[in-house]
Amino acid sequence: MTLYLLCFVLFMVGIYGVLTRRNLIKIVISLTIMEFSIFLMLALVGYVSGGQAPLVLDPETPYVQVVDPLPQAMVLTTLVIALATNSMLLTMAIRLYKKYGTFDIRKINELKG
């Protein structure tokens, strides 16, 4: 249970970072921390204590104690999405830097929510 709670704490650290950091790159890093906490969570949810990797090593006895492979597949899919998220965010950050000459969000405030 401690591990799950630590994942949640990591998620909260990410949210704290997104809300308080003033630098575009640090905001992106905080979002990535949130993503990784969920990947850890997914891997933990699929873990069976004492389980092995879900590979059929011996066709005669396929039913050994294995961990759940589905969350691992989900982590892989989400990693690809996270890659797209990060590259897109960083592209925008670079473009914004070229326009404003700064990463500080206090200076990038043309719009009022």
């Binding site: 998620f11 905001i27 969920i38 899919t77 797209a84 950050a93 914004l96 043309e110 719009l111 929510g113």
Partner: protein, 512 residues
């Protein structure tokens, strides 16, 4: 009628195909991607009408042919039922008119071919979201639609567009992660991702603290996606910065497909309708309605005004949804729930039509004058008669003046609230209607009446933009006949039945 179930995969296979063929085709025949995308969206519209009206049963397609083992569905299922069909109709209708409008509108932008790639991907993502019967698959399609919308918001690459897109990405990214967190928790509890299977498993257990926590996390996530009031910060910036045809899709269907549709599907078909959760949803809806309308009155930027008014109109839909859930959770008369859900679904359809039209109008004003601030406009009625007339019709629809569609859907929601003795919510609906009236009178007066602020060297919009706007005006009239029960039974009732059967959704799936 017998139909092969693979037909429903065409709803995202066609746009995917179109998205990746577009840049290639454009190298050989410059300009062909406009025709290709328009024809593709038209084909999708025809396909939707064909699938929804001639084939009334639920279609289930198992991706990759993975058959259920015993009563456990493995693999991904695509499900087309009444609610999905209704959403598909909405998405592809607005998608087609926006693509048609963009033929002329996008000429002033460079990089038009990338625009068409992104718009195809966005349509594919939204169609995938509404067809998916699997939570994680739904998440992936939702991300696809969201990613392409982030890029489209920043399409002009000006300062404010980049800033809006960054803000949208950070908030949208946090929402997606909260949703993924909710999905993880649900998988932990039930060990399955199939929505019908989850619904089955949750039927046998009570709504304990774990499920309530998951529900609140998911409401937050989808609240950001559908821009309900405490979570709305990104919407006015993002929707006003995008090119106008994209704003029409974003405001018309994206917030509904990736926000409200999933709220409806999850909180009515998958979870038990819970009284407190219903209260949370109805309150969020009510607050969005009221505050969104007040923010819209104060706006001076045309597209920002329309974006704020989207928040308010989406609030109506969410409040109707919350009311219906309350009725179901209390175990009261199903006909009362039917009335609110009809109102909510009807208003959702209407909103996508008239808000799409209004954004196209705003785009056409911007195309002609190059301005978005209403104080710099005035007297446009003389120069742009078609835009003026269609804006007038759309404004009257959104305000709720009787012969137009918006009146009937608002009426249904308010009558349902009075029938259920929720007088405060009914009064809120009427007050917000009045505020909306003020907003749109202001919009009309500043933009189209009064002394011309320009020495005119501009005229009416090009042909394709005009045709697109006029067709949507016709739809604003035609949709009013959905109030007649016989017509309603064709379009809205299949979706309504899906909502009313609540957990009965799970019985339609194979292997359960």
């Amino acid at each position: 009628m017998n139909m092969e179930s693979w037909v429903i995969t065409l709803f995202f296979v066609l746009p995917f195909f179109c998205a990746f063929v577009n840049p290639l085709a454009d190298r050989i025949f410059p300009g062909v991607q406009r025709v290709l995308t328009t024809v593709m969206t038209f084909a999708l519209l025809i396909l939707t009408i064909f699938v929804c009206f001639y084939h009334q049963q639920t279609i289930v397609y198992a991706v990759g042919g993975w058959k259920p083992v015993g009563s456990v569905p493995i693999g991904i299922h695509l499900v087309l039922d009444g609610l999905s069909g209704f959403m598909l109709l909405m998405i592809n209708l607005i998608g087609f008119f926006s693509a048609f409008y963009a033929i002329d509108y996008m000429k002033e932008y460079t990089g038009g071919k990338y625009f068409y790639v992104l718009i195809c991907l966005m349509i594919a993502g939204m169609n995938g979201v509404v067809l998916s019967g699997d939570l994680f698959n739904m998440y992936v399609f939702m991300e696809l639609a969201a990613k392409s919308s982030y890029a489209l918001v920043a399409f002009g690459l000006r300062k404010d567009e980049l800033e809006a897109s960054f803000k949208y990405q950070v908030l949208g990214g946090m929402a997606s992660l909260l949703i993924l967190f909710g999905i993880t928790m649900l998988y932990w509890k039930t060990s399955t991702l199939n929505m019908a299977d989850i619904s089955n498993l949750l039927q046998n257990s009570d709504n304990d603290a774990f499920i309530l926590f998951v529900q609140l996390i998911l409401i937050t996530g989808f609240g950001v996606k559908s821009a309900l009031i405490p979570f709305h910060g990104w919407l006015p910036d993002a929707h006003s910065s995008a090119p106008s045809p994209v704003s029409a899709i974003l405001s018309g269907v994206l917030i509904k497909a990736s926000g409200i549709y999933i709220l409806m599907r999850l909180f009515i078909n998958v979870f038990h309708p819970d009284e407190y959760i219903a209260l949370v949803i109805a309150t969020l809806g009510g607050v969005s309605m009221f505050v969104g309308a007040l923010l819209a009155v104060g706006a001076l930027d045309v597209k920002r005004l329309l974006a704020y008014s989207s928040i308010s109109q989406v609030g109506y839909v969410v409040m109707g949804l919350g009311l219906g859930m309350t009725v179901i959770a209390k175990g009261e008369d199903a006909s009362a729930a039917a009335l609110t859900f009809t109102g909510a679904l009807f208003h959702m359809f209407n909103h996508s039509v008239f808000k799409g039209l209004l954004f196209l109008n705003a785009g056409s004003v911007e195309y002609a004058t190059g301005a978005r601030n209403m104080k710099q406009m005035g007297g446009l009625a003389k120069y742009m008669p078609v835009t003026f007339a269609s804006t007038f019709v759309a404004s009257m629809s959104i305000v709720g003046i009787p012969p137009f569609n918006g009146f009937f859907s608002k009426l249904l929601i308010i009558v349902a609230a009075i029938n259920g003795e929720y007088y405060f919510r009914a009064a809120l609906g009427i007050i917000v209607g009045v505020i909306t009236l003020v907003t749109f009178v202001k919009f009309q007066v500043y933009t189209f009446y009064g002394k011309p602020a320009f020495v005119s060297d501009f005229g009416e919009s090009p042909t394709f933009m005009k045709i697109s706007m006029i067709s949507l005006v016709v739809l604003c009239f035609v949709l009013s006949i959905l109030i007649i029960p016989e017509v309603r039974s064709l379009v809205i009732d299949p979706a309504l039945d899906t909502l009313l059967e609540t957990n009965g959704y799970s019985t339609k799936m194979p292997g359960s």
